[in-house]
Amino acid sequence: MKAFDFYAAKDANDAVALLAQHAADPKVRVKVIAGGTDLLADWKFSPHGPDVVVDISRAEELKTITLTEQGLVIGALVTHTQIMRSPLIQQMFPALVHAAHTIGAVQTRNRGTLGGNLVTAVPSMDSGPTLMALEAIVTIAGWGGRRQVPLSEFFVGPRKTILKPDELLAEIIIPKANLGKPTHFYKFGLRKGQALALVNAAASFWVDWGKNTFVAARISLGAVAPKVIRATQAEAFLEGRTITPEAMAEAGRVAVNDARPISDFRASAEYRKNLVAVLTKRCLEGAWALAQTKRVEGSNGNRNA
């Protein structure tokens, strides 16, 4: 691994200060490290690593999961293991628990953070689709203060986000309006353990139990475009439509038009398109099953419950 300078930030503010201090010099490549499960693997065999590394793994205030006026706020340093074990998330969003569980292995889930997974911005990231389908918002901390943007605008392209060199991803927020929204995540990889997604997908929708129709259906796809995307055509197709297996299957076929997969050594574009159709359908089926159980439990299977 290439030599670099190391600074361990005491907390988020300290980290932002360190970033401001070093990012000032454009020649200096500054990197923020949290769990390090992606970054260190990248740097190990690469001749061009960073010059300065700022470790934020000690910023305790970024490790909390809380309900606020704005919604469910997940700190950027919350690990995938924490997500899997959070009673709050288990009860509201089993899909997030499932998505976290599909990431790497126990060792990586113990170190890897939700923020890190998003900031790395690999199109096949497993945290992206579920959060996108839940219209998550992210809070970005910088020397100038904090700003919030929808997650859908956070990603720019493969391994590219809107983060400026002196900025930090602080928290991920699932808006109040979507709390408890029935959601399902599905990942398809080349094996069961430690798999990278060939395609992953998430779907969420409310149910108008009176008309038995889809309300506010949201579908998100990973690994089929330069960044995690929303399948807007499929969403439009479902809006207000009666909930039937046929509709879900058709939505899958429509979603294929939203995807722009490439062919690589893992799979061909055509195969990925097929997976988009199948996974979208299965996500809708999963979310539908969840909606029905939630209704039976009398918990919120629909917005007004």
Partner: protein, 164 residues
């Protein structure tokens, strides 16, 4: 250089290393604890698994500086002068290891599992070992041994070894 002070197997240790040194390198090269192995150096194989603050991690994907002030348990810290850890005892008894290179990592992953759940299902064991690649054993006899160690820790009979 960064100076790192941490607890290793219950004892406070300190070392000054280049910033890019991983926890794995520090354990092996500075503290001569060579139980954790370097198999891939990028977190795929799990041969470097150690337990940090109670959780199994790939020590090749953690900077020494990030381990400052933490509590690290390595395979060398499992047994005492009188007793093997139940896992070590049953991995030996069941022939769970062959070339042995993945062993320390596998046993640390299994220990972390049993500390939380001494009665795991086969699927839970497979999930706990999912980050530890083994090319010799097909994992079968490891899973048996983890089950058996759970029984020992619960003070129950160890199930009969299934034989051909």
């Amino acid at each position: 250089m960064v100076t790192v002070t941490l607890k290793v197997n219950g004892k406070t240790r300190s070392a000054t290393v280049p910033p890019e040194t991983t926890l794995l390198r520090m354990l092996r090269d500075q503290f001569d604890l060579t139980g954790a192995k370097l198999g891939c150096d990028v977190g795929d194989c799990g041969a470097c698994t150690v337990i940090v603050d109670g959780q199994p991690v790939n020590s090749c994907l953690m900077l020494a500086g990030q381990a400052d002030g933490r509590d690290v348990l390595t395979i060398e810290g499992l047994a005492d002068a009188e007793h093997l850890h139940p896992l070590q005892k049953l991995f030996e008894h069941f022939g769970s290891l062959q070339c042995g290179f993945c062993g320390p990592g596998v046993i640390m992953s299994a220990k972390a599992l049993l500390d939380e759940n001494s009665n795991p299902s086969t699927q839970e064991i497979r999930d706990a070992l999912g980050g530890n690649l083994c090319r010799c054993t097909g994992y079968a006899k490891m899973i048996e041994a983890v089950k058996g160690a759970g029984c020992m820790m619960r003070g129950e009979e160890i199930p009969e070894v299934k034989s051909a």
